[in-house]
Symmetry: D2
Subunit: 338 residues, 4 copies
């Protein structure tokens, strides 16, 4: 339950918080210059609150028992900007996160990490827990992979982002990982999302394969309403009319629409958004035009021998080319009058 206040009056807020607390629930206050809202958590006890009584408390505007509010521009009109280490998301700069689909070994990760770092990359990606359609496919190195990622990231002064597939590993992620990714297959794994709401780490939340924009923002609201406001929303393609020539359709309109719907930073994943190595550079450059805050790109020192998704991973030299092209289009964007 979320209680939106009519205004920012401290007294009114206090009464609502008190009411909620007295009734055995936890009240979490969200407040900015425009709005105040109180998220009510109670492991079911919030279901028993008397809505009619609650709605009559002074200052109460609207009680949400469906939909989302905190992640929308209706709650916060200015863009959310936050730092993770030295890296800032949401300030208009473009954060390029890159690395292999899967962490396969220390040597592979070190080679890629070294190269990426020398190209100025500040955030390394690399999967340790891989959700794979087949029970018999490589499932990632697990916690060993997390340790390798951490070690390599530290060695080259980078942040480390990787996907979490189950809450049981959360403590390991808190120890080894800087940004926790939620993949498309877990975008509706609400127990996981709830845990991420209190984990203290920034979250990269991908759009689920059959999520519309409201569903996606509702998933983010699970995290945000529990107190974690460092969420990056990552578009990764939808299924389309053709799956012979490309795996997914990059839904560029979703990125353009989300810019207006939410204050959270937006990321584009052109690797999954196409499934084709040769589409990654043009799609990334289009991301510049869509004003995305971040890119998530699969790069491998040997895509042909990758254990996972080699066909959508860039060679290192292709990635360097992409960075150059990005920079050209970023300069161009400066010249466009808005």
């Amino acid at each position: 339950m979320l209680i939106k206040m009519k205004n920012l009056t401290d007294g009114d807020i206090s009464s609502v918080v008190e009411y909620v607390t007295i009734n055995g629930c936890e009240a979490k206050l969200f407040k900015n210059e425009d709005n105040a809202a109180i998220s009510v958590l109670g492991r079911g006890r919030e279901q028993k609150l008397n809505l009619s009584e609650l709605s009559k408390l002074p200052g109460v505007d609207k009680i949400y028992t469906k939909d989302y509010f905190l992640t929308s521009v209706n709650y916060k009109k200015t863009k959310s900007v936050f730092k993770v280490g030295d890296v800032t998301f949401g300030d208009g700069s473009l954060v390029v996160m890159a690395g292999p689909c899967a962490i396969e070994s220390y040597e592979q990760t070190d080679a890629i990490g070294k190269a990426l770092s020398s190209m100025g990359i500040k955030v390394m990606r690399g999967g340790a827990f891989k959700p794979r359609t087949s029970a018999y496919s490589f499932q990632g190195l697990g916690v060993d992979g997390l340790k390798i990622g951490r070690e390599v990231a530290d060695k080259y002064g980078m942040l480390f982002v990787t996907e979490l597939t189950d809450s049981r590993y959360l403590s390991d992620f808190i120890e080894y990982v800087d940004i926790i990714q939620v993949g498309a297959r877990n975008s509706q794994n609400f127990e996981l999302l709830k845990d991420l709401g209190t984990c203290g780490k920034p979250i990269l939340l991908k759009q689920g394969m059959s999520d519309n924009l409201d569903t996606w923002l509702s998933a983010a609201e699970y995290i945000y309403s529990r107190g974690n406001d460092r969420i990056i929303l990552c578009e990764r393609g939808i299924s389309g009319a053709d799956n012979k020539y490309y795996r997914n359709v990059m839904d560029i309109n979703a990125l353009l629409a989300m810019k207006q719907l939410t204050h959270l930073p937006l990321c584009m994943d052109p690797s999954h958004g196409s499934g084709r190595r040769d589409f990654i550079e043009p799609l990334s450059c289009m991301g510049v035009i869509a004003n995305v805050d971040a890119l998530l790109i699969e790069v491998h020192n040997c895509p042909e021998c990758a254990l996972c998704d080699g066909a959508q991973s860039l060679h290192l030299e292709e990635f360097q080319h992409l960075l150059n092209s990005l920079s050209i289009y970023q300069n161009a964007r400066q010249k466009v009058r808005y």
Copy 2:
């Protein structure tokens, strides 16, 4: 990894099992009158097995590092038949599982359970952990709901099926639940599926919203290959061309196709497969024609006051009508020559 054998020769099987075990992995043998296959589990160690060496062992036919095999008719040509308590799935009979979308209270559950039982229903459904799009919607009573479901099911001599959304609750489910449901949103939650492979309880696995049939069977294979062969596959509708007049499209073709692809029992969920109360009876009767082994139907003593999905829940009297109609069509099916 799965190693399919050329034949059923014990000696060959033993050598493969020995090879796998010596190399630090667990070997699980699957064998019927037609086929033998060895599922290899090793928390990553199976990745390091020497495939070239393995494939040269006597009797080794094919090593799966993608796709699925055990859940398909290629592995087992006869239908899987299994009992849960006194209820048999897969023997040609039709098991009707019914109950409220969510367990809301003891009183509500008892009233529904009593009525269902008096109509001859042997399996009661009812959600305790509800995956809801909005963070602010009713999320179910949790473990309290499991206890209520158990108590009512026991009182009326029924089995209890309910949805599990995270492995952390698995021990509670093992204690209170007879059949564990995996919902559409968790059909690609592979960590959960792995745990269900060794939980000892039968599983009701729904098709995910963007799963095709291969993806769905691959999900079942996660469970089956770890040793749990009591899986019921449940079709619950896909998104279609129209979402104004009905929520989902019942993919009846999927049921017809699955009958030929897998030996596992099949279930139809006409409530989610349409989202409309008035479609449930005709869809259920069509399930008879599709020869499904089970139906999963939402019934409520007061759909209008249900906390969840009331619009797709039958009134008790409508459910009685449905049972009568089912029986008429089941009789008719006896007369059809196949």
Copy 3:
């Protein structure tokens, strides 16, 4: 433009008709015991009518410049029933229309027609103008095919239904054909639909591949509003999550929903609705449960040598089996209390 009247008052209707006629448009009156509405046609002149003036004429309720009305149950609460030759559509009986995908020769058509007729079939299908994805595929025999179809249908006392792909052939269709089919690819070919509105022949209108129900009824409204009220709506499957094991998804929910949205007779095409011969019988039997008014089934005396769509055509003996099964389920339906 469509002008819905508040009631059936003759004087009000006359004034509107007069107003429309004076302003250079043609007025076509639609009236039943519940409603009266005036369809205004003017090749553009209707655009220039003064809506404000029009809406103030006595008895004018609503002026439609979008959406549909005449084909909906809001216009006509009782089912539309009409005869074509001796065959009645919409009276609760089930009309089975069958025949080859394409008319390939007199001999083939005669052999199939003879067999179908001996099984009691009253309407023969068979394509003469085939819309084919590839420019190089067999496009049908054209007018020669129409003549063959007519001759065979007459020989065995059947009606002949076949697809029209362009208005230029309309006069031939009027001469040789009893029911004119509009295929999924032409469901939005509005020039064709307009012509069919005045052609005097009953129409079998398929749902387009990306039509939702409103779009489909709007297409029917093009025909109906020009004066042709003998329209059968035919569901032929939509694209779904799986296209490996079946070509299309039979959208059975669409049929159930349309029963409530429109007064027009409904048809199911299980051949295109699956693309699989072995699905046709169960889908047809489900059509009985959905209360469809007609079935459109591909049958061939040699599916293996068919020039088109052999994989979804029944052998003659399979079709006889289907008819027997249909009859069993039709009897069962009699026993269901509604």
Copy 4:
């Protein structure tokens, strides 16, 4: 039928042409430096050719009775470049085609045409025959609209592109129109496509709403194989996961893939590809990155009073802004090393 030759040998080609002609069909030769192929047309007579005999003629490589070839890069490895009046398509330049959704009056068209011309636009769009979902919506001015479009285009020295919805108007289009558009709803209207293959006018062929890339190129092959090689393929968006915030998804991957599949020029329609005015500029700029050859943009002097699709039409000043931005990104693209 299409007969692909093994090489360019004149003698072999002549024998095939002779064989085809003797058997009552028309042979149309397609030849470039890489390939020769003979398109066989015969109004059904080509069905009776003896394929076995044909395939044994010297030089015959492959006989197509399905799929497509001429529109693919397998036939022609270099980009197709052609002029329409003074405007060149396919030479690496970007042709911006703009104008109102519908031609509503001379005054409106003249005002828009004048403004566009003053901004350097060389091709004016404007619908005279409007395919509308509802029978009651504005259907365009028809031939009167064609005349207005022609007059305004001539007055300002522009070309005129507009949509044809039925062959019966083809002679009018040949008289008044420079480029004939085939809309998404007619992309599978094969009778129309055949006529366009011999009409002598360049064609703008939109992707159909449920066309995949093979289906789209097959539609183009209908035109090309009859002798019209001036075809521009226009992407206009597909249906996606969200239809609340935007009408269609711009399938940018389709454009990237088509660049590699076909030698024909490619166009993007950002107006229909989103349905939102504020998305048109960013999408158009992304078209620069995708290297499209043309853009098709809806511009209106008063979108708020447009009779059709105002919400996706740019104001004139917005269009000027778009042109400036395009130019900035085109300059940037020059600097990208390929």
